[in-house]
């Protein structure tokens, strides 16, 4: 297949995606019932008041949980390519990953021991 032809499906999908988005926005603005109230009109900010003083205290647990999420997220990022090429990486790759995951287990034990997952 020539290079130009290879891109046609991509362009088609892009057009389809754009068209679907445009049509649904258009239709919902034409057909949908409109009963505005102040809460509905305010932008959604993950449940936090969108307008107000920026200098407010956050519960420190948010940050701890966010950090833990990040750490374990990274674990998945590294485990996924290993799972894909499990066979070609052989025994050495297996041992490496076991060591890696054991370190994460230690982190988990440490986090539990420090009480970072308790909400008081």
């Amino acid at each position: 297949m020539p290079l130009q032809d290879a891109y046609w499906p991509l362009i088609l999908v892009a057009l389809l995606a754009f068209g679907f988005g445009a049509v649904s926005v258009l239709l919902s603005s034409l057909l949908g019932p409109k009963k505005p109230d102040p809460i509905k009109c305010s932008p959604y900010e993950c449940g936090v008041e969108p307008v107000g003083n920026a200098r407010r205290k956050f519960f420190v647990h948010y940050y701890v949980i966010a950090m833990l999420f990040l750490i374990f997220d990274i674990e998945v990022v590294f485990t996924y390519p290993w799972a894909v090429s499990f066979k070609s990486m052989g025994l050495w790759g297996y041992i490496e990953m076991v060591v890696f995951i054991v370190i994460f287990l230690l982190i988990y034990v440490y986090v539990l021991g420090r009480g970072a997952l308790e909400w008081e």
């Binding site: 894909v84 090429s85 070609s88 990486m89 052989g90 050495w92 790759g93 370190i103 230690l106 034990v109 440490y110 021991g113 420090r114």
Partner: protein, 483 residues
Amino acid sequence: MSAINVPVPNLSAIVPEILTTVLACFLLMFDLFVPKDRKRVVGIVALIGCIFVGAVTAKYINEHIVTFSGMFILDPFSVVLKLLFLLCDVVVILISLRYLEIENVSLGEYYALLIFATVGMMIMASANDLIMVYLGLETMALSVYVLAGFTRMTPKAAEAALKYFLMGVFISGIFLYGIALTYGVVGSTGLPDVSQYITLNGFKNPVLGVAVILIAAGLGLEIAMAPFHFWAPDVYEGAPTSVTAFISVAPKVAAIAALFRIYIEAFNLMAAYWQSILWLVAALTMTIGNVTAVLQNNVKRMLAYSSIAHAGYMLMGILAYNKLGLAALAFYFFAYCLMNIGAFGIVIYLRRQNIVGDNLEDFKGLAQVHPMLALVMVVFLLSLTGIPPTVGFVGKFLLFSAAVEAGFYWLVAIAVLNSVISLYYYFKIAKVMYMENPEVDVPLSAGMGLKVAVFTLGLLTFVLGIYPHPLISLAQRSISSFF
């Protein structure tokens, strides 16, 4: 899908790193089972662990292994540096045991972070690839940022940690940019590959010149060399004194060693180019450090500026680019570790209820209250100035003679003048100790560990000044893989 070929590396090359990492993880776990008022036990376990790792590491002193696809090198130079880092750990743990309890932050994580920082520095010492240097640098720096703010309830410590963190993050971006430019030109980040490219293609590409500067800047933050030294006094003053003792020695040594390896192994053919830059930087660093130290009344701040000046002296070892220069550098690392941690140990010694011990007034009349302590402090001050018979003199003598051998007469003249300036502010402390009367009569209450550490360091500073041969032969052994 192409199969990923994973070559099995020679694991015996990273045994010291593995052991140190295991030690740090073990300390974290062990800490969970130690009750809050007995965290000192964690420190003692860390101490024993460091000595054990040191004993194992020492066995590798004659090895020469390149592994991990050439990214990692174990040679006598790196082993000697690893031993130095472990020595730093041992001394810093000894001076911290009681101090952390006085500061009310006796937590097990302190020791674990110290060991994690050591892992990073060990990687830096053994890095044979720019990416590996970066990896070690970040492992070390992230632990040290936390350590700098360890007394987190004091605003000064929080400020120190934040300043250090912001500067560190900013500069590590610059370092990465240097690596990226090198990679862009050479197509590899391995130090031998860079050297090979320059041998084949020359260094007409100006991008390489920029990369050389950016890499020096990236490591220059940890070295605290001239245009990147602004963070040092604030951080050294705000951080807990035991941490200051650590960050004024170990990360600095690791960064200088990494810069040395990068310049000698990768950019060896550009020597004339980086020498002309380092010349200026070294002269600036030692002059700014010494001249600013004269104005200080806070001893921790004064020692911070003095450590900037010492970084300038140590840069002369890289600059000389000869056998003697490297041996002198290795020698000076040890000498600097002994005398600088010792001087900070005395500041910790003076820490009493409500007295930080870092004001010049706190040293008033120390010779009357505690003559031995004052004497040891004088030994450290003599050594920092570079007056015989101390280890600092031998170190400076070797460094200066290496620079003379390489033909840097003007730089040596500047360095000698700087040593004279340093005499003034170091002996301001000695004057206060001997010529004035004590003001406060709160008794000194040092722990056993601190006493052992300070007096052993004092003795070593003196003895190795008279009989430096063991250290010189160690330094000579470390250079066998270069030149």
